[in-house]
Symmetry: D2
Subunit: 379 residues, 4 copies
């Protein structure tokens, strides 16, 4: 399979980064990619040092230079992973898209709605594939929940409760020199939404992914509880979906005791579903008038959509990296299908640039609504 | 102790009722009350039959008649439990209050805000005690949570997440002749709020009880998901408290898999708390930067406020009836203190008519906000 | 119903006692009993003081005197609750049994196997009813588990895992003057088994109650981990049941973090069951090849046997006291049936003197096996 | 890093296999190994086909041939993963060990105790490293539990409760042609212990790994509940450790509802610990007399030993594959240290051939004890 591996580059993800390492493991886990080039940091010196650390053969000081050179190489990269702060996603992605190099981009799509729109255009003009790593959609039990909803097993959806709570920004960590906290609370780099953009978009994306619903409007009340923080660290949002379903979304980075508590509950006329990211191998299914059922990854009751993205037997827990790797595996499937001129299976459902745009519209609407004292804003 | 027992009457709670039986057990559990009189149903015939079923010595066909006669008896009732549908709380309570008979009234206080205000006046004019059975405040771990917040253990409160979800009205049960569903979805008897009034008031009361916060304004989006239901069966509410804390409140009676899922999470600058009514003997305490701690009823780490209202050692679970009985025990303590001219201990914190008024203001504001498309309404 | 209440006396349960208070609440909770007489302590002075504390009208300094006098009274007690240390169960019970007064006796039956046998004889000679408060059999979900096993829902039983772990004797509490620890670690008063007798008997009784199996033999390894403690504080036991099922039983009072952790799992050829006393409103049912199901007290899937002993809707947790009260309610049902000459329903399944004897045989076999280096001992 | 990767071969793990795929992911996840050669099946044809499936460059029809040739290649494999049925572990391992090729071998060490002893000798004579994949020791929270015990945080150990329950052999699956069930219930290939060897050894290894205790003797009661099965499918074992600690071990493959339920609880004089493989990111720590604490992977309270083997922040769950990969990462660390002539850090604690021998002694003692009617057998 080595000869068949997809040649991958990476922009961002050098020393001090978090999500770059995750992407590298996700790319490696199923053996679909070879990481062969990188522009890992914002300065040439750090870029080269990081590439040396990681044993990446071709190191670049600058992403534009990398795009140009790799495009000319006979065995240049076929895809690039973009793991920079948000404000760099669009400029970097465009350089690769215009050269037909597939893009696997971290979320949220961009820092500004305007950039998101131009990026969508760029992606549409390009023949390359654009994959957005809303990685939580890669969990098998999330896939199963989506399949159950689509199959009508909980009836017509009435209520969606989704939340994503963390506690790591409960204090002004950004003032201590912590790099992650710095850029994620800097509106220039992260965007107008703080928690809303960083994790609220994940929650919103997950709700749409599982339910298949389309948001119609929202009302938001955003706060910055830590003094002097220029972006929100807590967001309360009420949701109205097309067709009449309603929802609540809570995102917070100041909720002590919550590490990475993304959770969703969906209630329909015939039953309910509940899933928690921190215990991802379980899905509660609560058919109305029957005992609650706990469906486990690869266990009895889990269906084909989950089985597609599972590696090991029930009771052998998979986690965050496996879910993330499922997005990479689907990206590989799409890239190979394109390479071979095959039609891609409808089962491949990785998040796209359009999903990314929806996320940016969501953040924009949250910020607008909150500034208008929580007025309902159509999306 | 028999000679010392408080003579109790009951209005409502005959055949087909639910909460009347709960009040009777709660009154009996700690041996503080003797149920000696009752006007248990709306018709004389059913009243007498229900009293005979229950072995209640003095049966009345009508609550007014009962108030008059018991007041004249040498050994007449000292207190009355009111367990009728909501619209009868005010007229019944006033009859007893004006005769100096203490009132233990089920929640919500009334069906209409206007009635609540007149009842507050009546209670203020009376020398009798008024106890509102927001029974969830009687749970030991709720008391402990309140004590921790008051002691500053979670710092300044930022976020409150409270919810009360049920599923028993997921289908139009009220059309099947089920009595509970009938009156609880009838605006004449239950009030303008359906789920909001029936269980949202419990959630709101609990949030205030634990946090000590005062609500400033709210924005609500209420729905009746079951066709033809004239009151809400699902409510989404955003909360703003005085001092800057924010909250979300969800109440629903159409969420399959939720039996009686009242739950609250409170996050402050220094830590968090989490409690669930269905597993009431546990309280999660999550101090920022330390491992989560699970405090158990009467176990290590539980304080004096919880110990006051606990009967048995840790690991021996107490439940709903014990929590309810704690309200009755505190009512007894207050009645005896008044009887003996003693000052009541500050530890006795049962909900009062003022708490009931707050609940009605909450419902009224939810309905108003929802009618105004979720506009913020001051309370 | 007051006139219909059963007149109850109590022996033991004065100041410093634990289980006496539990019996009093259990007797009161459903309104079936009136506690009218007591010999609450081992000295006359303390007995009278305790009775005064509790408002019990007829106080005795001595249980024999109480039996004699109450027997002669026109409205003397019909039943007596025995809540003394174990060594007194037999002498007290015999005094009342011989006078036809029903006995509700705490567990284990006696401190010595010999006494248990004589007590069985006494009970058999008497016309009175003998109820042993193995209270955990009173929990609704335990009843449901029993019903499911009897109905063949888990197939032929293969494996039983039962345990009862506590931590309160992890240190030599008996040397600090704590009364409960003193007598429960004193072989004269508690019997030859420490943890084995105090809580191992509960675990063993529960296993037999749910499975309907009969123990054939056991192999035990008992320890006293706290230095100088003359009875076991930890017991490991392997079980062989008639018909080929096997089991393990663990009881411990030195397992930090365990408050009152009685738990049982039963596995058959078609499915499994799991129940935990500390979360008693839930029963896991795991049919082979299907998703796990969580059955809740009074919720969907719970059957008639559980419904008989439940008071309130699902999601409104019942606890230890309600389970205990169910034994009292069944005792009342049996007493009234006898009073009225009616046949007792087969649904009434409170533990009997025979169950008590089995428990004493179990303790005796454990002690014997352990002394013989864990040899298998037939029971 | 590619140039630095360790060249790995694999024996076993072709089509129809389970654990081979796990080893391949584990070898790949952290980028330490390149799988470049394989003898994947027992027939040449299947071996070559499987290697082609997997893109492994050098395929062999026979493990002996592979050992000989790879040994002669300039860039031949440096290590081999052995993932055959148990009876082949020893003959395969010896071929590679004698040529100085490092061995990463699945558990249990062998099918027969005699083979285990000869394999230990072979490993001792060889300069190569021998790693046994008792993968559960690779979980971060298992490492943390071990560190806490070693640091005295739970005091002197008194009681160990360990269990490993599954349900996949509840019915005679081996008669349906399922390959995994076939060899795992065939004494020739799996060894004298069925569940005991397959999963009991994991449980025993885990107990020793965490506690640091040495087993002194055991008493076992083994059963084959499925008719006609020639090896045990359920084992009950009582344990006595040197120094006086006691334990119970339960292993079962016929316990419906248990997927892969390895769990351990350790109780000492000062506290307790509890860990479950199916929820591996959590460790309960229960210091005596304090509230229970839930320590999370990489969260507050987790120490250096866990941090060494963790990749991502708390709340981002790691699972079975990451734990398994930790063993591979430590194998890589040892191989590189040897390659470079460096001393290996004491933090590297992968299971060794000696641990494998202990496991075989355990199985042998269980079988002996059970045949002697559960007599205590010294190990």
């Amino acid at each position: 399979m080595a000869g068949d591996k997809i040649r991958l580059g990476m922009v961002g993800g050098g020393r001090d980064a978090f999500i770059g390492a995750v992407h590298r493991i996700a790319a490696r886990l199923d053996g679909h990619f070879d990481l062969v080039a990188g522009a890992l940091s914002s300065t040439e010196e750090k870029s080269l040092a990081s590439a040396a650390d990681l044993g990446i053969p071709r190191a670049y000081g600058d992403f534009r230079q990398m795009a140009i050179r790799e495009n000319r190489l006979k065995e240049g990269i076929e895809a690039v992973a973009i793991v920079t702060p948000n404000h760099m996603h669009a400029p970097v992605a465009k350089e690769f898209l215009r050269r037909g190099i597939h893009v696997i981009c971290d979320k949220p799509l961009t820092s500004r709605l305007f950039d998101a729109k131009t990026l969508v255009s760029a992606a549409e003009r390009s023949d390359a594939i654009f994959v957005l790593t809303h990685n939580y959609t890669g969990y098998p039990m999330v896939r199963h929940a989506r399949e159950m909803v689509a199959g009508g097993e909980i009836g017509e959806i009435r209520v969606v409760q989704v939340e994503y709570a963390q506690d790591w920004l409960s204090e002004p960590l950004e003032k201590t020199g912590q790099k992650q906290a710095e850029w994620r609370t800097d509106p220039e780099r992260t965007g107008a939404g703080g928690a809303t953009g960083d994790i609220g978009t994940h929650a919103y994306n997950l709700a749409c992914f599982i339910t298949g619903l389309t948001l119609e409007s929202l009302a938001a009340d955003l706060d910055s509880f830590v003094e002097g923080r220029p972006v929100d660290d807590n967001g309360h949002v009420m949701l109205r979906f097309e067709g009449g379903a309603k929802g609540m979304l809570w995102c917070s980075q100041v909720a002590p005791g919550n590490e990475n508590a993304l959770a969703i509950r969906v209630y329909g006329s015939k039953g309910g579903l509940e899933w928690k990211q921190e215990d991802p191998n379980y899905l509660w299914y609560t058919p109305l008038g029957q005992p609650k059922r706990l469906i486990t990854r690869n266990g009895a009751g889990a269906g084909a959509a989950a089985a597609r993205v599972t590696r090991i037997p029930p009771g052998h827990p998979e986690g965050y990296l496996e879910g993330f790797a499922n997005i990479y595996a689907e990206a590989a499937e799409a890239i190979r299908a394109k390479r071979d001129g095959r039609k891609l299976s409808g089962d491949v459902v990785f998040p796209t640039v359009q999903d990314g745009l929806k996320g940016m519209v969501f953040v924009d609407a949250c910020v607008k609504s909150s500034r208008r004292n929580g007025a309902w804003v159509r999306v």
